[in-house]
Amino acid sequence: MKALRRYIDHIKPHFKKGGKFGKLQSTFEAFETFLFVPDKVTTSGTHIRDAIDMKRAMALVVIALIPALLFGMWNTGYQHFLAAGEARTFWQIFAFGLFKVFPILVVSYVTGLAIEFAFAQIRGHEVNEGFLVTGFLIPLIVPADIPLWMVAVATAFAVIIGKEVFGGSGMNILNPALTARAFLFFAYPSEMSGDLVWISGLKKGLAPDGFTGETILAQAAAGKTAFVNGLNELYTTRDMFLGTIPGSIGETSTLAILIGALILVYTGIGSWKIMLSVFTGGLFMGLILNLFAVNPYMELPAWEHLLLGGFAFGAVFMATDPVTASQTEKGKYIYGFLIGVLAILIRVLNPAYPEGVMLAILLMNVFAPLIDHYVVGANIRRRLKRAGFNAQSVKR
């Protein structure tokens, strides 16, 4: 450690303004603060500083995502060998998934970070930390067989159009990872939807005829009441909760996501208010649809909706993005609740989108500033009233 610190201090002058590599200052700074907590302190006034800076906060989110990633790797292999009808050991299954998922992760990080660093150099500001999480999220919300160049294109689109045009991390309106997914979903529908993409190898004719790799939601949308896997075995609630079902890499296991949620809530990084209200909203809308059910999809028990598709993943990791979510405490409840409601609404009532969570969160991302605006306004009015002013007569 000491040697590393000494080495960094030794090369530091070269990266200062006017130094040999003065242009690369922001890159240097990014690596330095990645390795060591910065020791900069304010020189005037009293400040209380938390030891956790942005990079550490982001690293904690990544840690929270690891259970979902590991399970996703295993499930990728598990679904593959299930479809192929081969029995393998745990480690063989995991290794298959690892070789499928790891390249996606690498491509996502390399593309995104390259663009982030390039923009930081051009604009002369620090490298944003936000991509540490975005780059980890993107592989978790795509099918395992997605071509790598598509991941690269989508990541580039998300970082440039979703984030950098607005001024980088912290200024973006839409969640970048979901922007990448939405891009893929609309640009390359043949790789992102249908029966063949959710299980690795299915497209290349891995499984015998008659084997279908439909997700449970697709089966529900098709009007089925009993959900079966490709071998015609019934899915149990346990399967849905543990996540041994076809789907995007990291979204299937509600259990792994809940572990991540616990980490986020315990460390105070993810807002439990948003998570809770997303689930409440989903449950609420599910119950309403159950009441007026006219087809099997609308009859799907409300609580089962919460286990299926990307609902839990979206609620825990996407909706809670501190940049794009509502900032006010009351706003968080409204924002989350509407995400839940819209997600189930889109999912059930629009057969073209069996997965509505992505669109619901993106839509509410756009509305989050408006919600905040009115929550803040209401608070000002309430306090004015308490102080005895007539709210109308006071100009804001």
Binding site: V153, I161, V165, F183, F186, A187, Y188, P189, S190, E191
Partner: protein, 215 residues
């Protein structure tokens, strides 16, 4: 009239040149966005659209400019509409007669040139206050500026969305599909036209910093 200015004085040329860049109707004046989203899926209809708008705008500009002293201000909008509508019907009929395929592709959008905000905007802002010749140049300049953006957007949308340029299957000839390349379906959808226009605006503002609005 001894101080007649020459037909192509620098002031008049400016009317032609400025809308192509510094006061582009789409990227700077933010007019005519709607049709830019609708017709730019393929290059061919976009070019036809651009030519149609040039014809409609330049002629209506001249007509309104000639009439400018005789139009009662209170009914000027309806007079402008009648002039534009006449021109649009003419263009529509010509397209139907000589370019039926493209006319079918553009379908309702030729008729919708009437509501294209660029045309009304230029009549109001320029033709009503200027002589016929400068109005004519202004019409051509603005319609060309509009057409330029249309063609740039359509080029990228057709190339990336359908893999063709002017209907010629470029991507297929290169043989890139065999490598696993797929056309980008999002490019065909209207949002991508908006994003492409946005990128053009970004590049233009990046090059010409005077255009950056501050507020």
């Amino acid at each position: 009239m001894s101080d007649r200015e020459p037909l192509f004085s620098s002031k008049n040329l400016k009317l032609l040149r400025e809308p192509l860049n510094k006061s582009n109707p789409i990227t700077v004046q933010v007019l005519g966005i709607c049709s830019a989203l609708a017709v730019t899926v393929k290059l061919k209809p976009s070019v036809v659209m651009a030519v149609s708008v040039i014809a409609v705008l330049s002629v209506s500009n001249v007509v309104i400019s000639v009439l400018r002293k005789h139009i009662p201000p209170r009914i000027r909008i309806i007079v402008q509409l009648v002039v534009i509508a006449t021109m649009v019907i003419l263009v529509d009929e010509i397209l139907k007669a000589f370019a039926y395929d493209v006319s079918k592709q553009l379908s309702v959008f030729v008729g919708l040139i009437i509501t294209n905000c660029i045309i009304m905007g230029r009549l109001e802002a320029f033709a009503l206050a200027n002589k016929p010749w400068p109005s004519f140049l202004d019409g051509i300049g603005n319609a060309a500026g509009y057409g330029l953006i249309l063609i740039i957007v359509a080029f990228f949308r057709e190339f990336l969305g359908s893999g063709t340029i002017w209907g010629y299957p470029v991507m297929e000839k290169i043989g890139i599909y065999k490598l696993g390349y797929t056309d980008n379906g999002l490019m065909i959808l209207p949002p991508m036209a908006l994003i492409t226009v946005g990128i053009i605006i970004w590049i233009q503002r990046g090059k010409n910093r005077d255009l950056i609005e501050t507020h």
